[in-house]
Symmetry: C2
Subunit: 657 residues, 2 copies
Amino acid sequence: MPLPVPVLPEGVDPAWLPPAAFRAVGGRRTLIRGSGPLVETVHGEVAEACRRFGGRVVRDASDDGPYDLVLGLGADGLGDEGFTLAREGGTTTVTASGGRGLLYGLFHVGRLGEAAFTGERSRRTHRPALALRMLDHWDNVAVHPVMGQVERGYAGGSLFWEDGRARGDLERVRAYGRLLAACGINAISVNNVNVHATEARLLTDRIGDVAAIAGALRPYGIRTHLSVSFAAPLLLGGLPTADPLDGAVRAWWAEATRRVYEAIPDFGGYVVKADSEGQPGPFAYGRSHADGANLLAAALEPFGGTVHWRAFVYDHRQDWRDRTTDRARAAYDHFVPLDGRFAPNAVLQVKHGPMDFQVREPVSPLIGAMPRTRLAVELQVTQEYTGQQRHVCWLGPMWSDVLGFPIEPGASVGESARGGLVAVSNAGDDPFWTGHPLAQANLYTFGRLAWRPDADPGAVLDEWIELTYGPGPAAGLHAVLDGSWRTYEKYTAPLGVGFMVQPGHHYGPSVDGYEYSPWGTYHFADRDGVGVDRSVATGSGYAGQYGKPWAEVYESADSCPDELLLFFHHVSYAHRLTSGKTVIQHIYDTHFEGVEEVEAARDVWAGLVDLVDPARHRRVAELFEEQLRSAREWRDQINSYFFRKSGVPDAHGRRIY
Amino acid sequence: MPLPVPVLPEGVDPAWLPPAAFRAVGGRRTLIRGSGPLVETVHGEVAEACRRFGGRVVRDASDDGPYDLVLGLGADGLGDEGFTLAREGGTTTVTASGGRGLLYGLFHVGRLGEAAFTGERSRRTHRPALALRMLDHWDNVAVHPVMGQVERGYAGGSLFWEDGRARGDLERVRAYGRLLAACGINAISVNNVNVHATEARLLTDRIGDVAAIAGALRPYGIRTHLSVSFAAPLLLGGLPTADPLDGAVRAWWAEATRRVYEAIPDFGGYVVKADSEGQPGPFAYGRSHADGANLLAAALEPFGGTVHWRAFVYDHRQDWRDRTTDRARAAYDHFVPLDGRFAPNAVLQVKHGPMDFQVREPVSPLIGAMPRTRLAVELQVTQEYTGQQRHVCWLGPMWSDVLGFPIEPGASVGESARGGLVAVSNAGDDPFWTGHPLAQANLYTFGRLAWRPDADPGAVLDEWIELTYGPGPAAGLHAVLDGSWRTYEKYTAPLGVGFMVQPGHHYGPSVDGYEYSPWGTYHFADRDGVGVDRSVATGSGYAGQYGKPWAEVYESADSCPDELLLFFHHVSYAHRLTSGKTVIQHIYDTHFEGVEEVEAARDVWAGLVDLVDPARHRRVAELFEEQLRSAREWRDQINSYFFRKSGVPDAHGRRIY
């Protein structure tokens, strides 16, 4: 039976799958061959498109058509997710070895649009570069008193959880799965890595809730994962310990995991944040993180599951007076000694930078330093530090820079990420999915870069624009989004120094907000200069964690790239950047420019009023007002702070308070 | 029937009413004369003391004794609260016109102890200087998601409210009332001035909860007041407006108030925070605060009630870039034009300083500027900005300075406070009542200063020590407490500048925490100097709100007292104080001294281990560790901040980070 296409609730934005996305397919004659659940998904999609646009679809026919499109299982050797596409003699043919490949092939045809049905195409094989393309949802089942339902969520409540349990009506979860499949995502973790009391029980007596979600996502090729508490044997099992080397603990995890697979046969595995920011972990028992990860890996191994073990381990009770500790060093210092000790089905999940998703960080040196460990790289699609989905900040260029960075000799980050690419989701039950309608572009871009890390992000952006908005406003949208990350960087913390944000919620400026905190996030600004000395020669030694050539490049303020200067060095305000400007004048200039660029983007958006759906246009226009207010606040606080400290006037005499 | 003395739950500290407080009375022969509920309270007290200490008590006997103590109603002209005390021929006699006076007389005898029963005493009359001596509890009925149950409470949950309603067992409320009566407090407002949805209903369908509390407090001479929402006619009455000049609104308040008095015949009246920090008020209808206050005054007038209208009105959405607005000016600017327009039973409740209970502020100029208005002065016993009952900070000297300040020619603040003295309570359901056992001294001192504003605070302190701890540790306790406010001032924000605290919760240092906020609390530190210019000549003009001689004294940095210098002036770090020190060296010196003084106080406390009850000693010793940690954090943040800004090294080469 063809699977019906999910019906969006009234008022919910279709994002990059409006009906028009399948106009070209829907007007044609399609033959589908093969069997299996995902073939039914493909059939349902084509049938719905034909219903709208007048084409027709035939299943497993023995005749030769004529057909405009043939979608079929059959080819070997493409893996579960690959497909081939060819066009010959007026017929476009997609062939796959497995159902997921066929679905991805269909979405590929959708992206091509009319171009899929013109001319000839020689056979080409498409395969994802990374086998795991995963979203981590930081969703709580119960609303958390401080963090709300979705931790670092800026798009309403959870798509999965409502009133303390899985949503009864999972139609929107199905629609979400469909959107994710259309950009290539194939795994989801459905709850927050900070596992609170209610959420801990998802592993055991509430696994049925997870199974329901898994059931809704499965037809879109998405496997479901779960964040678990390392202390589960204590919390849920009544054991006196959670020691990973304890026999009873191992038995408890084995049995708990067996029951999980009983409920969800294709369950993906566990995600664990251990010994981090208050979460329990193996340190309590004098065990290593490899011991901890391998405990869960052993429980998952018989069923083909994977444990994602986060490398975000650092001392969050640091003393700002102690300059010998450097949080940036922590992940490397903790994990590199463990290389080779993780089980094959344990994936070490590493944030792309050494700190925490700032607008600008160097690539984490851990990524190139564990050749005998499967690493996954974690990005943050939710805009915690990049405007919280009230600011336009399309992160494609940043992620592309990260993924293309040659962290090892001969290997980019994208290539080192053998465990996959993971991102913290930015979606919720907001009508636009992502709060800011243009933040959809981040979700889409993440999926497409996970499929192909070396894709041109600008081309991905244009693809998203074309699917979501059609050709009318494309040039304007491209102008608004393409440079928005660099614009955001300009009006916020300068030159890689990071963390000049309001404590706790992280929205808006507070230059000294974390300067005397226990969080290890300092800038050391004084009347003479600013920045963190992380050199080997005179600083924390963090620069020495890199291989060649980066250790040398970052070691000296002369060779360090401007945009990371204050991350690696404490320099005087008079220090000259490669650009020829002094640091202080760079700060002033970028902050004035950043606000001007927001004003310009707002004006471009205003000009699109007749080319964009009114609801979308209105929401974005409203948010631009907030972005502009906030950008001015950033500009004025940062400039005032550094003017008060340095005493250096702006070379152009602009207003600083 | 004599009223039984309340029984403290196991483990609850007896504070300043341990059994020994009535040892002298309890061992003697006492005659009680008169009738009425408070006479029964007196009788119960004496009977309980006699039960413990072997004396006896007789009621309304016609014989002549002999009696050691005669407590009797009878004298005229002492008012409801006054009493006379005399001793002649071996008999001590307390005479009062009303029950409260008799109860206060008994507590006075208790404070005198054995001295009440030796030698002769000529008749002396005791009367409170202020008719209203009130505590405002900022207690919520329902636990507030951010503020907890007691807003700015540091002593556990509410004494009055539990699980969303009045406590069923009011024995501890009775014990609280007894403690308050023993230091002279005669009124309580039982809920937060920020009136949330649940608490708004106390006025109407939940008045029974308030009546129960009033019933428990009445035998101790304490009248109960209620904080109400100005929007009550909308919220509770279903009216379309809360306009104070609207007839239906006036009728609604009249009827609501009538019902309140039906439930609580001696109800004290309403407390209102209007048009302040988000609370509703008359501004919404284009009416004045006199219109607002008089609306409620009119409803209360037939029943003898009073409305306390808070003068804490300012713009809390200020722009830090706008130097023309000065929050310190706000109360004066709002209210002085209304002088003479408030009803006789409306009391304008004015915080003692122009800002918000900082460790050092000038006296509010509003206090001397409204001769035709009944003003009450508001203090904050709860230590929001003075260590949150984790630090020892006895506020007696500060309050005494405030109350004795000659704000008007010929009138001190204590004399101008014709509407009474009010304080935000620091008590909760903590076993020690106030979290920090030594914070009890603040509650006691407040009551005694409200009775007699010109009392020597050191003598009040010794009185509290003697009652609470007995003579053994008295010298040590005096040493620990007497200078503790100045010690706290030394290690926190310097020279009156205020508000260098962590935003939101207000515990611990954050020099720039409010510097770029909308709250109007700035210090304007730059690399050259620090402080707020509030002069008439070059600043906000706030200094001009004072009468003579203060306007002139504060106008010039040369005549402004050192301790308020940065409140009134922006000066360079090299500015020389009256003390001869530069501002920057003063900052360094006081911060090192402050920590040393905490260390010394901790050591004194440690030496009292054999002289103090173990539970009290342990709690205080633990808290001293936190105070010391926090004081060092304050010292190091403040010193580092100003060293980084000024570049001036410490003259003594001490460690600054």
